[in-house]
């Protein structure tokens, strides 16, 4: 809009302020009276019969007031100029290579319903918001890594005929959600971290949303993968990793409240890998020993009960530490 607006002239001109005089007024204590575009004014504006000053005020106002902007654009679309505008818009979008958006068409049909001018281009659809909520992990290399691990296990089992592929997948499954948490949140993982930390939705809420997204990808993929691989007799089932995975993830969040998510996930993931691979270094029957150790971690109600208790304890610690995510994590 290039129309000169009287409000704009009140702004001091660019460049240095000329003299060290009194401080310019800040309009202290004078909130503007709420003014809105009436239907009558919107109609006159659409017809082009509104006085120039009224048109200026209206144009300035609709820049910041969505309901009024919707009212005015509905009035314009309903006026004689409506079909022309719709045609111009469609032509412009086609020439720019866009698919014709359905919204303007439906809006011009039901011109009386106030539709925000930019609703057709809104980036805030339900799916967009869901996509935003899941955070960096599901956009980045982590999701590729999960798919590669599952695919690799299938390759080993069916391509190389390796019988232990299922146990191998089970052994690495608990650390994949940990890795997802590590690349989802915090100063090292999220480029927007400092900006999100200053918002009401940042902090623990965002971390939990993103962790949930990570688990929502991990749990079905890894469990189904382990279930479809050939079973080894006497070895725990495909779902045996779920409680350890949950416990380790919650432990990473709780520990992350002290040292940051990346360091916490690295510590716990490294610890789990050591515990699982440690016996492999022991002796000649290493592979059997490793499988036995893994089975002892995962099989039986005592082991699973222990993981459940650990998960509960970590969740409780996380609740106690929930406020620590309100500020930037320690360096």
């Amino acid at each position: 809009m290039t129309t000169p607006r009287p409000e704009a002239r009140a702004t001091p001109g660019p460049g240095p302020r000329p003299e060290p005089g009194p401080v310019p007024s800040r309009d202290a204590g004078s909130p503007r009276p709420p003014w809105h575009v009436t239907d009558a004014l919107a109609l006159r504006y659409a017809e082009g019969s509104a006085p120039e000053t009224d048109a200026w005020s209206l144009e300035k106002h609709v820049e910041s007031c969505t309901p009024c902007a919707a009212r005015v654009s509905a009035a314009v679309r309903a006026s004689a100029a409506g079909p022309v505008l719709a045609a111009v818009r469609a032509e412009l979008l086609t020439s720019l290579g866009h698919r014709p958006a359905p919204v303007p068409v439906s809006a011009s049909v039901s011109a009386s319903t106030p539709v925000p001018v930019s609703a057709g281009r809104s980036p805030l659809g339900r799916w967009a918001r869901l996509w935003w909520a899941v955070g960096p992990a599901l956009r980045g290399s982590w999701v590729v890594a999960v798919v590669l691990v599952v695919g690799g296990a299938f390759g080993l089992a069916h391509g190389a005929g390796f019988q232990g592929a299922g146990s191998l997948l089970l052994a690495v499954s608990p650390i994949l959600p940990l890795a997802g948490v590590a690349v989802s949140y915090g100063r090292h993982a999220d480029p927007l971290y400092e900006i999100t930390a200053a918002t009401p939705s940042g902090g623990l809420r965002l971390l939990l949303t993103r962790t949930a997204a990570v688990l929502a990808v991990c749990v079905p993929l890894l469990t189904a993968g382990a279930a479809l691989l050939p079973r080894v007799a006497g070895f725990p089932g495909a779902a045996a990793w779920l409680l350890p995975g949950l416990a380790l993830t919650l432990a990473a969040l709780a520990l992350g409240s002290f040292v940051g998510c990346r360091a916490a996930a690295a510590t716990l993931g490294g610890g789990w890998l050591l515990a699982v691979t440690g016996p492999l270094l022991a002796g000649p029957d290493a592979a059997d020993a490793g499988a036995a150790v893994l089975a002892s971690y995962l099989s039986g109600s005592a082991a699973q009960g222990g993981w459940a208790a650990a998960a509960l304890a970590c969740a409780a610690l996380l609740v106690l530490r929930r406020r620590s995510f309100d500020h930037l994590e320690p360096r």
């Binding site: 702004t11 001091p12 660019p14 460049g15 240095p16 302020r17 000329p18 060290p20 005089g21 009194p22 401080v23 310019p24 800040r26 309009d27 202290a28 204590g29 820049e63 910041s64 969505t66 902007a69 925000p116 001018v117 930019s118 609703a119 281009r121 809104s122 980036p123 805030l124 967009a128 918001r129 935003w132 960096p136 956009r139 999220d190 480029p191 927007l192 971290y193 400092e194 900006i195 999100t196 930390a197 200053a198 918002t199 009401p200 939705s201 940042g202 965002l206 406020r323 309100d326 500020h327 930037l328």
Partner: protein
């Protein structure tokens, strides 16, 4: 206008491991554009981070927009009315400018029906309207900085904190940006950390000068300028006058600091 100023800080101390970034700072800021000046390492970013509620103070009391940042409930309310541009900030490279700004609007809990218009207005105000659907990774440094300013103002904040906002802007963009600052400062409290004295001369109504974690000077830009005295040089300008005022205020503060507590403050004791 308000019974309580937008920013009321008393006895604010911030420590990073062993160093003291802010040392029992008292500061009160009302509406207007406040330039936060000071030598490198004086504690400007530490102060902005505390005011942005992203860093917790080691001690002291911080009240923003009438709420106490130490209280979780108040802090959430404050954050909805806050705009913050960090000195260095990242972005998701595949997001468009519109998505980037809308994402922050969503994080700031703006009602969804107001977001599209608010995003377009914010992007227009920083002069990026023609690139609104360009991906962030295709933008130049100055454009990224302007997108950063757009995300800070998308919720029409009552308190706007900008850490080195003019870094990376070319001279023409800087002039436009100062214009925007003056416009914003008429209704809200704007705190601009900068090391460019001309930013202050052109856009700030008030100045807070920080040196070694303490407040060295606070007053209007005119008062700072008058500290510098008259200059006989024929090419004297407002910027030069503010520069002289800045130097004079620092000198006075350092002299009084040495008298007051010689040896207690490592940075001052060196001088």
């Amino acid at each position: 206008m308000n019974p309580s100023p937008a920013v009321a800080v008393t006895g604010l101390t911030v420590r990073h491991r062993r160093t003291v970034a802010l040392d029992r700072l008292d500061l009160s800021l009302g509406p207007g554009v406040h330039g936060l000046l000071g030598p490198n390492g004086a504690g400007k970013t530490s102060l902005i981070r505390v005011l942005a509620t992203v860093a917790a103070p080691s001690s002291g009391r911080v009240e923003l927009l009438g709420g106490d940042v130490a209280s979780h409930r108040d802090r959430t309310g404050i954050r909805r009315r806050l705009g913050y541009l960090p000195q260095e900030f990242g972005y998701y490279p595949s997001f468009t400018v519109r998505e980037f700004v809308a994402y922050v609007a969503w994080l700031k809990e703006l009602p969804a029906d107001r977001v599209p218009a608010a995003v377009e207005r914010a992007v227009r105000r920083v002069g990026l309207a023609d690139r609104i659907d360009a991906r962030m990774k295709t933008l130049s440094g100055g454009m990224v900085r302007r997108a950063g300013i757009a995300q800070a103002i998308v919720n029409d904040p009552d308190l706007l904190l900008l850490d080195e906002p003019t870094a990376g802007l070319d001279p023409e963009q800087r002039v436009d940006f100062r214009e925007l600052l003056r416009e914003l400062g008429r209704e809200t409290t704007v705190v601009v950390s900068t090391h460019l004295v001309e930013d202050v001369a052109a856009a700030c109504t008030d100045v807070a000068l920080i040196e070694a974690g303490r407040l060295a000077f606070q007053g209007t830009t005119a008062e700072l300028t008058s500290l510098g005295g008259e200059s006989g040089a024929p090419d004297d300008s407002t910027t030069h006058a503010v520069e002289r005022g800045y130097t004079a205020a620092l000198r006075v503060h350092r002299a009084s600091g040495v008298h007051r507590a010689s040896g207690t403050h490592p940075k001052e004791a060196l001088r």
